[in-house]
């Protein structure tokens, strides 16, 4: 990048299961505003210096409708001079927010951006309230509206990944997340949320009691004869995440706690019927742009929409599992669609610093057949 861009801070709400979880009664705009406000306060950034709030959301309607980003600016009590734009690349929305900020910085369109994401899957359902797909497209390109579960089953078939291996992967994700929580490694990034006088400051999706037997007993979730279950899928989740993205010079001048520098970014399209493989093309492009290889990566955040999806990506990319999703992935932590990109990019940046590594990759798949990737380096 011509102008070096850094991730100066990262924060998120606790993630809770949709419809049953502790955040089900929290409006998504409130959730996002609470996280954004905390991010600004914790980082110590001068709010007047912020150019724009770029907010990712996968189903921007209902309480997530209108120009959610601008409403969050006002809700969070940021100066009126801060602008707001809502952005949708489905699951990649808030990683896209970071890319967009980095791009804006390159063209001199600002120095400091809040790149956030939110999804209340309790309050706005997947597909939205009024799904009205294009009849001709649905008939002509079946992948266009295919359910994510079906794309996961397609990957299981294509990569011949049996159910037991998917379950072993899910078990490992749960174990990593449970340990991280128990050892307090998640505490720093979580912004407590007040709900009806109660403070929610812990994640709610993690299931530390997950067992091989328990997973083996679940029914297939999408195909009668399928291999993917609720246990090997990321849960429907409520949550918000935010990262502070600035020029390196700005961060230094303000004395911000720089986590990592952005080295390269990429997006790529793929066959929508196996959308889960999207990270492969995106990651390869981003790594090539950075001029590094997979072996150079010390930290990998590879989103787990489904165990089989993350495993297919792992296999194609040759990811070292010991360096991947150190504190657990979306299967255990949850996947609030619009918020995940900011979480895994912010997390990769924070891990880079915590673990003292040089290079990190954050990547995720996107419904409709896309991938998005970001390469970070120690700053």
């Amino acid at each position: 990048m011509n102008t070096p861009v850094v991730i100066a801070a990262y924060a998120r709400s606790p993630f809770h299961v949709a419809e049953k979880g502790a955040l089900r009664k929290v409006r998504p705009d409130t959730l996002a505003a609470t996280v954004v406000k905390a991010l600004v306060e914790r980082s110590g950034v001068d709010p007047d210096a912020i150019e724009d709030l770029i907010l990712g959301c996968a189903f921007p309607e209902g309480e997530q409708g209108l120009n959610l980003a601008r409403l969050v600016v006002l809700l969070a009590g940021l100066p009126q001079s801060v602008a707001g734009v809502t952005m949708n690349r489905f699951c990649g929305s808030s990683m896209q927010a970071i890319h967009t900020a980095a791009g804006a910085i390159q063209m001199g369109a600002g120095e400091a951006f809040i790149c956030a994401g939110v999804e209340s899957m309790s309050r706005v359902p997947m597909m939205g309230f009024n799904p009205l797909p294009h009849p001709d497209l649905a008939a002509g390109v079946p992948g266009a509206y295919m359910t994510m579960g079906e794309t996961a089953e397609n990957l299981a078939r294509k990569y011949q990944i049996p159910r037991a291996e998917q379950e072993a992967f899910a078990l490992e994700s749960q174990a990593k997340a449970a340990t991280a929580r128990a050892e307090g490694r998640l505490a720093d990034e979580i912004v407590p949320i007040e709900v009806d006088g109660e403070t929610i400051d812990q994640d709610g999706c993690i299931r530390p009691d997950t067992s091989t037997e328990g997973l083996a007993g679940l029914k297939p979730a999408f195909f009668a004869d399928g291999t993917v279950t609720a246990g090997t899928s990321s849960p429907l989740t409520d949550g918000a995440a935010a990262a502070l993205v600035t020029t390196e010079a700005f961060a230094k001048s303000q004395g911000l706690p720089i986590l990592a520098r952005i080295r390269s970014v990429a997006v790529a399209g793929c066959d929508p019927t196996i959308m889960g493989i999207g990270p492969v093309a995106a990651s390869r492009k981003a790594l090539a742009r950075a001029g590094v290889g997979v072996a150079d990566l010390g930290i990998i955040e590879s989103n787990e929409a489904f165990a089989v999806q993350a495993m297919a990506v792992e296999r194609e990319m040759g990811f070292d599992r010991a360096r991947t999703n150190l504190d657990g992935g979306a299967i255990a932590l949850g996947h609030p669609l619009g918020a995940t990109g900011a979480r895994i990019t912010g997390k990769a940046a924070a891990l880079l610093k915590r673990e003292g590594k040089e290079l990190a990759l954050a990547t995720q798949c996107i419904g409709g057949g896309q991938g998005i990737a970001t390469v970070l380096e120690a700053a």
Binding site: Y145, P220, F223
Partner: protein, 773 residues
């Protein structure tokens, strides 16, 4: 007592067993807050069981919110707020007395206390209590399960205040919907006194004459208007281990010389079954069991001689066939083992019943009503005697050398009931005279209206009656109340007659079910010989007839009870108002036979969903909701649930007591007739067209992949999606109801030509169950 609570607004039930829990649930169903007490957390656990009970104890999940549970020791003070405390604890006189002693000081000064005892005389229960308690005490004996068994035997003691009896009666009748019968304070009251005798006689005779349990139940069931469970199936249902307790209690309290004492026998096999845990459906099995060994489901019956189970037979009994043609008289006179069995059970039972009036109840009508409501007999013992012929019964008893009860002697040559010139019915009283069967105020039965009256119009499928005050009653009369072109033809005529000479019309009948829908047999027959024009004509005729209801110049009130399925549900959707019995089971179940609702069901459900101001915005939620309801053939398990599903509107009424349904519907019709203005067509609606159909089918495809929808389910769902999305309409275009009705016809015509649809219909007609093809 002068200040007796006129209205019972809070009830407490003590004892959270099967009966206590069931009673509390029915009180909650009636909308009355109820406190349920038992030891420790037993009441709380009972409430959890009630939530999940099958058949459902609660009419709506929200009714559970009306139940407060507590510990009978710690929370006994809660009874102070109750207007009526119902005791349903263990059948033990000492335990009940001890509880009453504690209640005496805990209850309010006007609180009524009643016992759900089934066998203990009231006089024994109140021993040791003060006069103030005794005058507020009575026995209210419910039957299990209280929601579904309507009988409540009400026993007042000599000191019970009339105002107490009145308050309990009113509440039980109007709010709980029970059919109360005044019983005298004698052991087992009415129904169980006769029922226990009948069961004992049925068991004795089966052993004595060497009948199998299948044969015995085939004889002692349907041919006599008794549930098909007969004697042995009934014991399995209530619990075989219960019988010795009931017998012991009766033997301890029945008068010397009571005929039950002579009939009482212990059968070694039954004793062994109880000891080994074969106590019926709740145990390891009973006289019947379902063998699930090796993944199969085989109904088996026990051999009364060897005690071994064998595959249950469907006995072909000549005596039963004789009864089909010649009624119960042909059954008891049939010269066969089965015929002898029928008489060996019925003869003594009928004589026993006749010997007990007026000891157990004021009159034969009360006894008959108790057996109808408590044991689900179609005819009580005295009605049965009349059907057989009283003189024939007397002759048979005399031939047996049995003693004739005086009441039976008094009926010789005339019978227990007689038709009065005014159309009413009179029963033979103990004084030897006939007395009119009185209906309580607010009870109007079509059967009474019809007796001796001529219909205003009738054909093979329906009839129109004058029920007074300017109101007519349209009755379905076909088998199972199925609907066909004749129904529709008479409906048109009925509306014309009512409009010219009357003020309002009620659609009502007293069949087991309001209507199970269109006559599928006819559709299948016509389809098999390719009479497509006929079928499509019938669809159009139904749409026109229902539309005529909707826009009738006089108000039309539909009053369903039991199942109202398919076309039987669609007619409700077109009426100006519905007054439903609480036990109404509505559903648009057409997809089960491979078609879509085409008598305006899709149309009306859509219009309702769009008119609902509380629905979420956008074109899809309303379409989606209706699609789910119809595509999944959701059947409401109560009138309250029908409201939740949208089959009934919020302004439609619910009547708890079946006997009050017609009067309530008539009152509703007359209220609507004041300043009645015929309906105007609804505002056109904007449906999303093909995009919505695509969205709905994406969801259906997801279900199919999960193995939850069959290939033909998908075809039918696609047809339904076409209708509900408005066909090829566009979001910018507002369309009227006739366009949707046209889509119903068009899709119906396509689906009915499919082989898979006809297979579904055939399967439904043969088995009564949907085919998943």
């Amino acid at each position: 007592m002068t200040a007796m609570a006129e209205r019972i607004s809070r009830v407490a039930v003590i004892g959270a067993g099967v009966m206590g829990g069931g009673i509390a649930a029915q009180v909650a169903n009636a909308g009355i807050p109820v406190t349920l007490l038992d030891r420790g957390d037993l009441a709380a656990r009972a409430l959890e069981r009630l939530r999940k009970a099958d058949p459902a104890a609660l009419m709506s999940p929200r009714d559970a919110d009306l139940v407060t549970t507590g510990d009978v020791d710690a929370d006994l003070g809660l009874v102070a707020e109750a207007d009526w405390v119902i005791e349903a604890i263990v059948e033990d006189v000492a335990a009940k007395r001890a509880l009453y002693e504690r209640l005496e000081s805990a209850i309010g000064p006007e609180t009524i206390v009643s016992s759900n005892t089934s066998t203990i005389p009231l006089a024994m229960l109140t021993e040791g209590r003060g006069a103030g308690f005794r005058r507020r005490f009575c026995v209210t004996h419910f039957f299990n399960p209280p929601r579904y068994m309507r009988l409540m035997e009400l026993v007042a003691g000599p000191e019970t205040e009339p105002a107490v009896v009145k308050a309990v009666r009113e509440t039980a009748d109007r709010l709980l919907g029970t059919g109360f019968v005044d019983a005298h304070d004698t052991p087992g009251f009415i129904a169980n006194r006769i029922g226990t005798f009948w069961i004992q006689a049925g068991v004795n005779a089966a052993f004595g004459l060497g009948l199998s349990v299948e044969e015995a139940d085939a004889v002692m069931g349907r041919p006599l208007g008794i549930p098909k469970t007969g004697v042995f199936g009934l014991m399995d249902l209530v619990g075989i281990d219960l019988m010795p307790h009931v017998s012991a209690s009766l033997l301890a309290t029945l008068p010397e010389g009571d005929a039950y004492r002579a009939h009482y026998r212990e059968h070694a096999l039954i004793g062994r079954m109880i000891a080994d845990g074969f106590t019926g459906r709740k145990g390891k099995g009973g006289f019947y069991r379902l063998d699930r060994a090796g993944g199969r489901r085989e109904k088996q019956a026990i051999d009364l001689v060897t005690g071994e189970y064998h595959p249950a037979e469907r006995p072909s009994v000549a005596a039963v066939q004789a009864a089909n043609a010649g009624g119960p008289a042909a059954l008891i006179d049939h010269d066969s083992r089965a015929g002898r069995y029928a008489w060996a059970v019925l003869g003594p039972t009928l004589a026993y019943a006749a010997s007990l009036v007026p000891a157990i109840a004021d009159d034969v009508a009360a006894v008959d009503r108790a057996m109808r409501l408590g044991y689900n007999w179609t005819y009580g013992p005295f009605e049965l005697i009349d059907r057989i012929g009283v003189d024939r019964v007397i002759a048979r008893l005399e031939a047996d050398g049995a003693a004739l009860p005086p009441l039976l002697e008094a009926a010789r040559g005339r019978g227990f009931y007689r038709q009065e010139p005014d159309g009413g019915v009179a029963f033979l009283g103990s004084d030897g005279d006939y007395h009119a069967v009185a209906r309580p105020a607010g009870v109007l039965l079509l059967a009474d209206v019809k007796r001796g009256a001529k219909p205003l119009a009738r054909n093979a499928s329906a009839a129109l009656w004058d029920i007074g005050d300017g109101v007519t009653c349209f009755e379905f009369t076909s088998r199972m109340n199925t609907l066909d072109e004749q129904t529709m033809a008479l409906l048109a005529e009925a509306l014309a007659i009512t409009a010219s000479n009357h003020r309002a019309m009620v659609i009502y009948n007293e069949g087991e079910n309001f209507s199970v829908g269109a006559n599928l047999g006819y559709v299948l027959f016509a389809a098999n010989i390719g009479l497509w024009g006929q079928i499509e004509g019938a669809v159009k005729a139904g749409q026109d007839a229902y539309k005529a209801i909707k826009y009738a110049p006089i108000p039309v009130v539909a009053a369903p009870a039991g199942m109202a399925l398919g076309g039987g549900c669609e007619i409700l959707l077109h009426a100006h108002a519905v007054q439903a019995h609480a036990e109404t089971y509505c559903g648009l179940v057409e997809v089960g036979v491979g078609i879509v609702p085409a008598w305006g069901g899709c149309k009306e459900m859509l219009l309702r969903a769009f008119a609902d101001k509380r629905r979420p915005g956008g074109p899809m939620p309303a379409v989606n909701r209706v699609f789910e309801t119809i595509a999944l053939a959701k059947v409401a398990r109560s009138a309250k649930e029908a409201r939740a599903l949208g089959y009934l509107g919020r302004e439609d009424g619910i009547t708890m007591n079946r006997d009050r349904l017609l009067a309530d519907a008539k009152a509703r019709a007359l209220a609507l007739a004041e300043d009645f203005t015929p309906r105007q067509p609804p505002a056109p609606i904007r449906l999303p067209g093909p995009s919505a159909r695509t969205a709905l089918m994406l969801a259906v495809d997801g279900l199919a992949k999960r193995g939850l929808a069959t290939p033909h389910d998908r075809v039918v769902a696609d047809g339904l999606a076409t209708v509900l999305s408005g066909g090829d309409t566009d979001l910018t275009e507002a369309i009227g109801e006739d366009r949707i009705a046209g889509l119903e016809r068009q899709v119906f015509a396509t689906l009915v030509r499919r082989e898979e649809t006809l297979e579904r219909m055939e399967h439904m007609l043969e088995t009564g169950k949907p085919l998943r093809n």
